[in-house]
Subunit: 284 residues, 4 copies
């Protein structure tokens, strides 16, 4: 399809929208959706996402980007065009629990998640057969305390080999090293099984049970060096009560984890998420 | 404040956004928020709401509108500017139940609802003292089967006298005549105590109880001649179970009615609601 | 496990709880959970569900039921014991859409749905391979207008052959005949893709879109002769807006359909649902 | 009304329900509602709440309690009868923000909150006129760093004078001393304007904005010496997005704070909340 998204962030100033919409109009682009947001209308930051259709887009890509560079320079924008036909290559990291993985595979199979799921990587062999039924290569890379670095080197090699654009940690119960993370900036999405910033770290359901909360949740965020502190993409919650023990919370929480992660991944794939410092702007 | 909203609807066609944003840019307007929606990107209908700040706006109003008319004509737009300093005059109609009325008065007092609540009209005298505590004139106009027309004439006279822009039926348990409604097109907002289109008409909570639903709701909509069929502005729901009898549903439902109506009225006051046939576009 | 549930409904009257709890106490049963509900505390109907553990239960089954019959007679109860080791045999009916089927299979595989999924029946061959991957027999029975009766005879034969306790219509897009339904009283669970009683019948998402609702939903209910009028077990909803067309509603609605049906089926399997006339009492 | 609630907690053991239900049966009590919960069915803790109607209850109170003491001793229960005609005396503490106060006064006036709101105490004079319109005495007690103890002494004297059963901190922006709290054990209910344990302490909305959460919430809990760590009674949440700044979160959050606090207070007044260590069992 001749569809693309133009993503912009820059200092807010008069004339941005006029310049961009004139540009697209002159190229004959049909704007399908347009969203914008200014942190502080008078002198703050400006974010924009425009989805448009332009006949024969593939052939005009280069020319379009060259021409837009002038506007980009004028307003000192961070900008990029994302073409819908450039399907993003995705890697999924899992451990033993399959619910988040299955939700992604399923939505992908149903056509709701437009990605090329190129590879699944796990520190356990258990989910191999399941993944291979979907026709996706599965790699079991053991992660041990002593050889974590080695394991990450293998993982990074796979990401390179498969030209991965985005990695999804679908309940991958390992902490990635700063080296690994810094090599994939804003390209790793995690699901944390709590309503962050409540219950950062390990065993959130056990701690939710101990605290006696009446609502549990899940949070999908970009991974940064600070554990569970990356920019939040999506969150959701579920009502619980005194009848539910920690095991119940885990079981019930799975459905929230699944849907929160799937939404976050879909929005990333559709270039709906802009990151600004430790927060996200989500145009959905 | 020098703040206004420009509301546009027209046939979708290339160049609209460019023309409008150029126009505002040349006037030195600072766009605070901009939302748009096309029913069908290729050849359907286009809706837009732009909120902007323009220094010394009051003095430029006339010139601005005259100048914009050219663009309006070119694209055959329905368009209007709504100035934030033109506070809308509001009438509230009530019967005996006070919860929706109180929520509106309260949010108004807290500054969350920017309106001039000019008058409260009721077919019962009960809520007079409450309303007058807020310094708002209260009119008790009896409505009887035989003299409904007379009552409506009195009500319409009040709407005229107080130059009312919008009437809110805050659990006003009377059906308005087509004559009344057609004199106030797209200017009457009702709260219906069910999740429409479920339980159109009378006694929705009793019928919800009879049907054994597990969720109840409330719906705020513009009033049209077709009972409970007007364009829906907002809806919300609440979980219930077999323990709740019809009285419980009524009691619990009050909180949903209150918040749904208050949100719908706020969006109307902020010119966030565009009506298209039997539906609304809500930019919120 | 030595776990069972005792389900009771009868006219409310003094002494029921005392009699039942004495009975279980004398047998040495350990009550794990107990729920009760009276429609009208003074002279209405009484419903009770007691989950208990009784060592060596299997061997005492018969004796227990014989002994309890005395109490049952005294209070003119409808009563039954449901033993946790008597795993219910389930049939799933599907057409072409797989999301509800997959959710059930998945939760079943994860151990969250305790049933013996004995057979999947479809009027289309499409989902055969998927089902067979789970090791479950799949039967494709064509349903045509002219030979509907024949098809239902084949289906009923399968239900008999596999000794089915409960049939789940997981988006089975066929209307069952009164004959079929009356042969499976309170044993067929359906998922309707709307928030009943809104949008009874065909194409609910299209009609929700036409009506411009701001919330869509799904409803799981027991199937009766009156289309979409059977006792509701569970409902849930999802917020939508003007941006969503009918196709979007369908896509988004799938996640609600999945979770609502799975919850309803789980509650049925755990004997948490008591039917009274056109409504349910759900002890969850 | 001849209605009472019997509240029990003790070590779980066989025969409790039988003993209690026999006791009530022999007294001719009609059980309206009964809820129970065991933390660990085999050898853990047991909680029970029975609501019953007993003709001529007032005259039998003493006899009933004396007789029940035998059962209480046998099972080493913590137990108490709460009679519906013993309306609880409530004090409300406020600072300047009125939304939580108003919600309580309003639900009280509507008859949804069955309490005797005996006094409102504030560290600011602002809300005096509002409170007095409801016919409730209002006391302005200044709280300064240096004379906090003095202020608390005045407050405690009022609680004693008005024979207060429960104090509600309706956005009372002062931290109470351990002395004050220990004199009112399990009798002070607070509303915290975050989804605890996220954002313990001051300025939760500002911190929620900084963190970029997609959902905000409110928590009602019993007050203990550990700030914001007391047993949680109720929580609820609200979806927000990047468009909302800290001020918006505050404004939107008010509606969640109101409803969460009102529900928690109602459940406390109806003796639906049992405290166990740092958690609650809520029978609702």
């Amino acid at each position: 399809k001749d569809r693309a998204r133009l993503l912009i962030s820059c200092k807010d100033q008069p004339g941005i929208v006029a310049a961009v919409s004139n540009f697209l109009y002159e190229y004959g682009a049909n704007i399908v959706q347009s969203d914008q947001y200014s942190i502080d209308p008078e002198g703050g930051l400006f974010f924009m996402r425009i989805e448009f259709i332009l006949p024969d887009l593939k052939r005009q890509e280069e020319k379009l980007e060259e021409a837009f560079a002038a506007i980009g320079n004028q307003f000192r924008m961070d900008w990029r065009f994302a073409y819908a036909y450039d399907i993003k290559k995705m890697a999924i990291f899992v451990s033993r629990e399959d619910h988040c993985l299955m939700e992604l595979l399923w939505q992908w199979q149903a056509g709701d998640l437009v990605a090329d799921i190129a590879v699944v990587i796990s520190n356990h062999p258990d989910l191999g057969p399941t993944v291979e039924q979907f026709g996706i290569p599965f790699y079991h890379i053991t992660v041990t305390k002593d050889a974590k670095n080695e394991a990450e080197q293998k993982q990074l090699k796979l990401l390179e080999e498969y030209e991965i654009d985005v990695s999804v940690l679908a309940r991958y119960m390992q902490i990635l090293s700063p080296t690994f993370i810094s090599s994939q900036p804003e390209r790793i999405i995690n699901i944390h099984h709590s309503f962050l910033p409540a219950f950062v770290g390990a065993k959130p359901y056990e701690r939710a049970y101990e605290r006696g909360v009446k609502i549990i949740g899940a949070t999908s965020h970009y991974v940064t060096d600070d554990l569970d502190e990356g920019p939040i993409i999506e969150q959701d919650v579920l009502r619980v009560n005194h009848n539910h023990n920690a095991e119940d919370l885990k079981r019930l929480g799975r459905s929230v984890e699944r849907s929160v992660l799937a939404r976050a991944v879909a929005w990333h794939l559709e270039d709906r998420v802009l990151i600004h410092k430790s927060k996200t702007v989500v145009f959905n």
